[in-house]
Every structure is written in structure tokens, then in C-alpha cells.
């Protein structure tokens, strides 16, 4: 392992992470809910009366965030290297996996670990490990 010092941005990462934590805290303390993005989004596919507006609003806030950010400072485009076929496969896996596993990086990784949930610790360890192995295979076994 070698650390990529040029790519490593510890202060932006910590600050951005704290902002994510603040958002999760707001959603918890005001709305009384876990800010788990896969759960909020997935719940829209099986709509329950009275449960649609806040879900749609949270997702709209996420999608609209770049617009707000661009009002203040310049937005750099994300670098998406995956091809279209890979994106479709990855999207399907993320969609199915997060719903069976009841959460993603936000619900399990941020909120679940913050509330010391054993389920979320297991889920986070599992998806992190799977992510590490997948990238290892893709970049160093297949891509080598």
C-alpha cells in the first residue's frame, strides 16, 4: 500500500463529513428519522400514504444540492470512469443489495455506526470488504 498524497484531501474530507453528520443530525432531531438514502428512496417505490412528501423532499434536496453549491463556488465535474454496461450492472447490485441489506453508506455507515448498532457495524464491514475486493479484482487482477 502506498498513500496517494496528491489525491488525499483530509481537511475537505473531515469538513464535508461533519456537514454530512449535521444533515443526519437535523433529520434525526427534527424529522425523527434515520438519514439512510437507500431507505428514503426505496420507500418511494412502495408508497405509503402520508409518507411520500418528506421522502420526495429529501431526495429533491440531494439532487438539488449541486445547484446550491454552484451559487457559492465553482463545481468540479465528477470523474465517472465506469462504462455504461458496468454502470447498469453496478446500479442493479446497489439497488437490490441496499434494500436487502436495509441500508447503504449513509444509513448503516454513518447513522448506524453513530448509534452503535451491531447490524450496521456488520453491514458496513461487509460492504467495505466487498468494495475492497471488487476494486482489487477489477484493477489488479483483470485490469493488470
Amino acid at each position: 500500500m502506498t498513500i496517494d498524497w496528491n489525491a488525499f484531501t483530509p481537511w475537505h474530507a473531515l469538513a464535508g463529513g461533519a456537514v454530512i453528520g449535521i444533515a443526519a443530525a437535523m433529520f434525526l432531531l427534527l424529522n425523527g428519522r434515520i438519514a439512510g438514502i437507500s431507505g428514503v428512496l426505496g420507500g418511494l417505490l412502495k408508497p405509503v400514504r402520508g409518507d411520500i412528501a418528506w421522502r420526495a423532499a429529501f431526495i429533491a434536496g440531494l439532487v438539488g444540492a449541486p445547484l446550491l453549491y454552484a451559487l457559492v463556488t465553482e463545481l468540479t465535474r465528477p470523474q465517472i470512469d465506469a462504462g455504461y454496461a458496468a454502470l447498469v450492472g453496478a446500479g442493479l447490485l446497489v439497488g437490490i443489495g441496499t434494500r436487502y441489506g436495509s441500508g447503504c453508506t449513509s444509513g448503516h455507515g454513518v447513522c448506524g455506526i453513530s448509534r452503535l448498532s451491531p447490524r450496521s457495524l456488520v453491514a458496513t464491514a461487509a460492504f467495505m470488504a466487498a468494495g475492497f475486493v471488487t476494486v482489487y479484482i477489477a484493477r489488479h487482477l483483470i485490469g493488470a
Binding site: 498513500i3 464535508g16 461533519a18 437535523m26 434515520i34 426505496g42 465506469a82 482489487y136
Partner: protein
């Protein structure tokens, strides 16, 4: 009122993702590539978010209603089962392929990225398939004896 605050929370969450660099799949993959040139940033994002989160959840622990007077809805499932593990592993594989998890994909969609649109469409299809499998595997309540 709840929807307004949800909109705000979503926007703040998205801004945090942009500031942290996590809306950029290349940066996420840089973290997941332990054997290559490793970018530890994602671990610092988690540390920042959990640092704030721990305080919020500790404060909320004994509350039964939120500051807006809404019922606190915390997860009640504690099972460490195959669904949790299998689902999380599938999610991790997808995450490792594209570098997108649900939040950053939605933010990148808001940046007008066509590839993010393709990913989000596939992700919604996957979530829809989950609902379909769930309906098939569970008999309707009134069909039960």
C-alpha cells in the same frame, strides 16, 4: 413542515457529499483501491460524519418525539442474518464496480451527469425488483389462513 425540513436535510447532506469529494466516483474508488495508490479521504469523511452523528444520536436516545413533535422512528430489527450480510455484500460489489453509492449518485445526477442518470435508473430498477421479490415471497395478508 416535515417535508420542508427533509428538503433542507437532503440539501445539506448533498453539500457535505460535494465538499468531502465523495460525489466523485474516482475519489471513492481511490479509497477502495488498497493495493494501488491509496486515497484515505473516505475514512476521514466517515470520521467527520460519525463524530457529529454520535453526539446527535446520544442526545436523541431518550426522546420519543422529535423537536418538530414527530414520532422518533428508529430501526427495531436486530437480526444479524443472511439478508443483511448478503445484501450488504451485493451492495459493496456494485459500489466497487462504479464507485457510486446511492447518495453520491443522486448528487451527480443533480450535476447533470448522464452516466449518473444511467446508474440511478438501474439502481431504481434494482430497488423495484426487490419490492417485486418481496411481494412474491410473502403471501398477501388476507390470503393467510
Amino acid at each position: 413542515m416535515a417535508a420542508l425540513f427533509a428538503l433542507l436535510a437532503g440539501a445539506v447532506f448533498g453539500i457535505g457529499l460535494i465538499v468531502s469529494g465523495m460525489a466523485n466516483p474516482a475519489k471513492v474508488l481511490g479509497f477502495l483501491d488498497l493495493a494501488g495508490d491509496w486515497d484515505p479521504s473516505l475514512a476521514f469523511v466517515m470520521a467527520g460524519a460519525i463524530g457529529v452523528g454520535v453526539l446527535a444520536f446520544a442526545f436523541a436516545r431518550r426522546r420519543t418525539v422529535s423537536l418538530l413533535g414527530l414520532k422518533m422512528r428508529m430501526p427495531t430489527n436486530t437480526a444479524l442474518d443472511r439478508r443483511l450480510l448478503g445484501g450488504s455484500l451485493l451492495f459493496g460489489i456494485g459500489w466497487g464496480i462504479a464507485g457510486f453509492c446511492p447518495g453520491p449518485a443522486l448528487v451527480a445526477l443533480g450535476m447533470g451527469e448522464q452516466k449518473a442518470l444511467v446508474f440511478v435508473a438501474a439502481m431504481l430498477l434494482g430497488m423495484g425488483l426487490f419490492e417485486l421479490f418481496e411481494m412474491r415471497s410473502k403471501p398477501l395478508p388476507n390470503a393467510r389462513a
